[in-house]
């Protein structure tokens, strides 16, 4: 258990630092690369939470596909790839009290509801078979809806980005 807590601490610090860099760095490509670090840390946390299939999916979809999309978006919408002065709004400082207030409320609510409740320690890794039994059993209708959403998103992206 101690090893898992140490791993959690290290990965959590890496994720928080990476996330702070994503929202503060003055270069879109660097922000995308810091975001890769956060997403990889999230995949590691999923492993700690015994969710190996979701972790692998996270690596494939986010680090593999979404980051490529972000880098393409950066490439197609910007002339220079260096630093940019005006990445923040003129009133960017208003985000600090808003997010700190939200954080305070959420941490208070979490501590008062869960306190020091422990996660079960004897659980096995959740098998892919169990997840697929759920998806293709009780959650079949949402799965169809999701397929439709993906189809519409693909068609919509093509229609929007097409040059006429």
């Amino acid at each position: 258990m101690v090893a898992q807590n140490i791993a959690f601490g290290i990965i959590a610090v890496i994720m928080v630092v990476g996330a702070l860099r994503v929202v503060t760095v003055n270069n879109v490509v660097h922000a995308a690369l810091w975001l890769v670090l956060v997403l990889a840390g999230a995949a590691a946390q999923y492993i700690l939470l015994t969710a190996e299939f979701v972790a692998v999916t996270q690596v494939l979809v986010y680090i593999g596909a979404v980051m490529v999309l972000f880098l393409f978006g950066t490439m197609l919408t910007r002339a220079q790839l260096g630093k940019e002065k005006l990445l923040n709004n003129p009133t960017w400082y208003l985000g600090i009290p808003a997010s700190l207030l939200l954080l305070g409320v959420m941490i208070l609510a979490l501590i008062s509801s869960f306190g020091d409740e422990k996660l079960p320690t004897d659980s096995e890794l959740v098998s892919t078979q169990a997840i697929s039994d759920q998806i293709f059993g009780p959650y079949l209708l949402p799965f169809w809806a999701l397929s439709f959403v993906l189809l519409v998103a693909v068609i919509g992206a093509i229609v929007l980005a097409r040059k006429d």
Partner: protein, 99 residues
């Protein structure tokens, strides 16, 4: 491992993402902040799946990943369209609908 250590990590990431959505001016950076928010929600779902010994949280996490991928695809297509028409993706310049 406590339940709260995962939930508080997710809360911190969520708030950093909210700050990014408020503070950033570049539309691509706002989309990246939204990814941070969606990932923190996924950590919550998996923590509760482990706490309750249920697989449903994993299914929802997978659905969120798929919807997030669709959202980024459509979002970046929109950003590309705005850039083609305006030669800029600064969100505060898109004020045609201001009364």
């Amino acid at each position: 491992m406590l339940v709260n250590q995962f939930l508080i990590l997710a809360a911190v990431l969520f708030c950093i993402g909210v700050y990014g959505v408020i503070a950033r001016r570049n539309a691509v950076m706002v989309l990246m902040s939204i990814e941070l928010i969606l990932n923190s929600v996924n950590i919550n779902f998996l923590a509760f799946a482990l706490r309750n010994g249920s697989v449903d949280g994993h299914v929802f996490a997978l659905y969120i990943i798929a919807v997030a991928a669709a959202e980024v695809g459509v979002g970046l297509a929109l950003v590309l369209l705005v850039y083609r028409n305006r030669k800029s993706i600064a969100l505060d310049e898109l004020s045609e609908m201001k009364g």
